[in-house]
Structure formats: C-alpha cells, structure tokens
Amino acid sequence: MDAQQITSFVASTHQVFTTMLSLSVTASKPYTCCAVPRFENEVSGIIGMSGDVQGMVVLSFPTTTACNVIRSFTGMDMDPTSPDFADAVGELVNMISGAAKAKFEGKNVSISCPSVVIGKGHKVQQPSDATCITIPFECPAGAFSLEVAIKNAKVAAKAA
C-alpha cells in the first residue's frame, strides 16, 4: 500500500459524505491498526478488493455516529438492528471503496458486495499479509474510521 492509495480513500470518503450525506468530513493522521483504537467498533461495513490490489476495507462507527450518519444518508431514523440500516451502511462502504479504486491508476480492481457487522466491541480481522492503516475521521455526525488493509498483487506474488 502506498501513500497515494491512502489519499484516494481520504478523498473518496470526503466525496461520498459531501455528495450523498451533505456532511463535511475531516481526516486526521492515519495510524497502523495495531495502535489503540479511538472507540469501540459497534457498526462495521466491509468490502473485499481483488485483482491488481487485494485486501479489505472496513468502515467502522460507534452506534450513535452510525445512526446520525444513516439519518443524513436516508433522511430517516432507523433502528440499528433493522436490515435497512445494515443495507445503508453497506452502500456507504461500497461507494467509498468504489470511488477510491477508481483513483488507482493503471490497476484493474474488483470489489465485493458489502458485508455488515453490528455488535459491541467486535473486531474485524484484517489479512495478516497486508499492512493495515486506520484513517480517523470527524464529521458533524460524530467520529468514525476507515481501516484499509490492501496490497498490490505483484508484490504479493513476489513475496509468496
């Protein structure tokens, strides 16, 4: 993973939140995922990447922030246990990942359909052979983070 790819995820998160939610976001300095997280993950949207870039992208929120974000996205208050809430979280991480991969020049990358995990204090295990970077964000709806653990396929093939 290179700095440009991290920049792509920051830009795509900004783009999705501004365009679809009318929320401005501010990114703080990214850190490796082994560092202590700022909050307990309660709602996570997960996307897999395959092709020239492989790995996983996880959009994580505390429940309160997730509810605020989904209200801005859908215009409705949703129960975090409802399937529609999970669907909306999945669509957010789908758009962020899709917009980010479009900025990976010269790379042919596919993304999976999203999965969503809801539950207090869960941890999404990232692939062990990719460096995991957490990008912390703040927006008027609250704090959230984007964990990115990706590697370039050629590098992976060499290492194998």
Binding site: M20, E91, C113
Partner: protein, 123 residues
C-alpha cells in the same frame, strides 16, 4: 413513463425512487439483482432502466447483455461505483446508453436521465 430500478441496495433504490418521483415518474418497479430484473422486465415492460453493476446472483453488466440479447430495447442508465474508463467502455459496448458514477447528486442523475431520453427522441 415506466422505470425499473435494479440495485441490490434498498437504500439506493429508495434514493433513486425519490428522485424519480420528484421528476414526475410515478410508475416505478424495483429489482434487487439482474436475475430479479430479468424475471420482471416482460411483465413490467420498462421504458427506462437504472442498473447497478455490482450485485449478487447476476451483476448489472450480465443483465444488460442478456436483456439486449433477448431483444430488450429500453434505454439503460448504469448507476454504479465502477468509475474506471475501461468499465464505462465495457458498459457502453454491452448496450448501456448512459452512465452515472456513485456518489451522485439528484441533479446529476436527473441530468443523465434527461440526456438519455432526449438522445433517444432525437434518434
């Protein structure tokens, strides 16, 4: 005008439905993937389709190819996160008439729908 929305995300279908309702389109059918859409196109006979790319069971590009191969002629706007030029070219070759990249604003979706229908009228 009859419009079919094909997207696995109910959230996205609802957002698109609300935009279409504001534009005055009232006959709207929804499908949750390509297979579901294929099973509904004959009965509903859409005059415009908005189709996502990444969906389970049957993705949007396979749906477009199958729909066109079966003689489906309604204009298709692909609404997707797939923004790379190669994907856009692939979609156009498959029979897509116009392309909207997510995230989108209501105005940009409205504009693309308008463009698509105007081009068809002029042809």
């Amino acid at each position: 005008m009859k419009v079919m929305l094909v997207d696995d995300s109910k959230t996205m279908r609802t957002i698109q439905r609300n935009i279409l309702l504001q534009l005055g389109y009232k006959e709207i059918e929804e499908a949750c993937d390509g297979q579901d859409a294929l099973s509904k196109v004959s009965a509903f006979a859409p005059e415009l389709l908005l189709v996502d790319w990444n969906m389970p069971n049957m993705d949007g590009i396979t749906f477009v190819r199958t729909y066109r191969a079966q003689g489906g002629r309604a204009p298709i706007v692909m609404v997707t996160t797939e923004a790379e030029k190669t994907r856009v070219v692939e979609a156009i070759k498959a029979g897509v008439n116009n392309y909207v990249v997510k995230p989108f604003t209501p105005d940009s979706l409205s504009q693309r729908i308008g463009e698509t229908l105007s081009r068809l009228k002029a042809a």
